[in-house]
């Protein structure tokens, strides 16, 4: 099984980090993973995005046109990537910033109020972790255990920060689980 996930948003939204932590979690899970950023002048003013490919086999192309999962953190990202989700795939929308709906009806759309979650926890910066939690909750692509290990590894020194990040992850996770049940 191979899962391709596109994370997209503004530069400052921690999009790259989300992808990296997920990749690391995948690696800890014993999977083959690659992470690939979009690069270049697109970053200027436009969207920043990265692709994670996670697979039981060696990863062939780390570049992808279609994806099982798309995470849109802002409007331009939604507009750019929603069409790339495969039928029955997942689209995660950062509801706090995106005030509109997807045009897709053949996929699972999960809206996450990332900023609100982060706000509640008292630090706007963890809104990306809320989203990451939602992705894992929605797809079960890695275990929360490995996700937390990856998170600790990546955030490293700042132990104080780890707790709040984990909380954000769990909020997102549960929200996604709940929204799937519906």
């Amino acid at each position: 099984m191979t899962t391709r996930i596109i994370f997209a948003g503004f530069g400052g939204q921690g999009v790259m980090l989300m992808g990296q932590i997920l990749s690391l979690a995948g690696m800890l899970e014993g999977k083959h993973v690659t992470w690939m950023p979009s690069y270049g002048p697109e970053m200027r003013g436009g969207t920043a995005n990265c692709t994670v490919v996670m697979s039981d086999e060696e990863v062939a192309s780390p570049v992808t046109e279609k994806a099982e999962v798309v995470v849109a953190m802002n409007i331009p990202s939604l507009l750019k990537f929603q069409d790339d989700v495969i039928p029955n795939g997942f689209l995660f929308i950062n509801q706090s910033v995106i005030d509109r709906d997807s045009n897709r009806t053949d996929i699972n759309v999960i809206k996450v109020p990332c900023n609100e979650i982060a706000d509640e926890l008292g630090n706007l910066k963890v809104s990306n972790m809320a989203m990451l939690g939602a992705v894992v909750g929605g797809t079960d692509i890695v275990s929360t255990d490995n996700l937390f290990k990856a998170l600790e590894k990546k955030l490293g020194s700042k132990a104080s920060m780890i707790e709040i990040n984990k909380q954000a992850v769990m909020k997102g996770y549960e929200l996604a689980k709940a929204s799937l049940v519906k």
């Binding site: 530069g11 002048p41 970053m43 200027r44 003013g45």
Partner: protein, 251 residues
């Protein structure tokens, strides 16, 4: 009583939206050049030579015939065009990586030859396009992606003073350093740019304006703070002024 337009987008710009980051003053200078082309009525005989840098898309923005030179080589490309067609007006638009690093030889010799071209030199103390590496004009102590511990003169050399250097070549007809971080400075900058074009049109020699410019993205500042940072940090290192003026006053 009626409303009359007193300022609007110049004809010498296409409708294409700029690809610059929000608040990046590259855009201001683009507009100034276009206004000058309009005022001098030379759009139809002008060729734009764009650089490699954030302004690599300049060829799309100016409503003139245009090309993109290899990184740093715009003055050479402009020279080729001008020698082939001395009747055309040719200008280069270059960043500080483009002009003051890889393109050092080409700009020095275009200036020294008194090549009848005009150069707009955007000094933003950084490599914008490639993601915030040190430029030759980066200030001492400034952190960039390739000076993670701050620019250190012992390893990385000193901020280079392009205008002070170029003024020592004899072919220069007009040379000034300006900034574009206040409305007043913007208007002054335009006067300088106009003169740099007149240096060419009048056949006197090489004209260049060094424009102190912001890079909010790679300076890590919001656009308004970047305007202020320019005054506080760039201007002390790079004093404004007219270094050469053989054009004289316009009547």
């Amino acid at each position: 009583m009626a409303m009359q337009i007193i300022q609007k987008k110049p004809e010498s710009l296409t409708d294409k939206e700029f690809t610059y980051c929000p608040g990046c003053t590259h855009g201001i200078t683009h507009r100034l050049v276009a206004e000058v082309l309009d005022e001098l009525g030379i759009r139809e005989k002008t060729v734009t030579v764009g650089p490699v840098g954030c302004s690599v898309f300049a060829y799309q923005f100016f409503n003139t015939d245009a090309t993109v030179a290899a990184h740093g080589r715009a003055p050479a490309v402009a020279t080729g065009i001008k020698r082939a067609r001395p009747d055309l007006c040719v200008f280069t638009y270059q960043g500080d990586g483009d002009l003051a690093a890889i393109g050092t030889a080409e700009i020095m010799h275009a200036a020294n030859r008194g090549e009848k071209i005009t150069t707009i030199f955007i000094n933003n103390a950084i490599y914008g396009m490639t993601g915030g590496q040190m430029a030759p004009t980066t200030l001492l102590g400034m952190k960039t992606t390739t000076t993670p511990y701050g620019r250190n003169s012992n390893n990385d050399g000193y901020p280079i003073h392009v205008s002070e250097i170029i003024k020592e070549t004899k072919g220069v007809a007009y040379l000034a350093r300006v900034k574009v971080n206040t409305p007043q400075d913007v208007q002054k900058a335009k006067k300088a740019i106009k003169k740099a074009f007149l240096a060419q049109l009048k056949g006197i020699g090489f004209g260049m304006v060094e424009v102190l410019s912001t890079c909010p993205t790679n300076w890590g500042l919001d656009p308004v703070a970047a305007l202020k940072w320019l005054d506080e940090h760039m201007v002390p290192e790079y004093p404004l002024g007219v270094f050469v003026d053989k054009v004289g006053d316009e009547q």
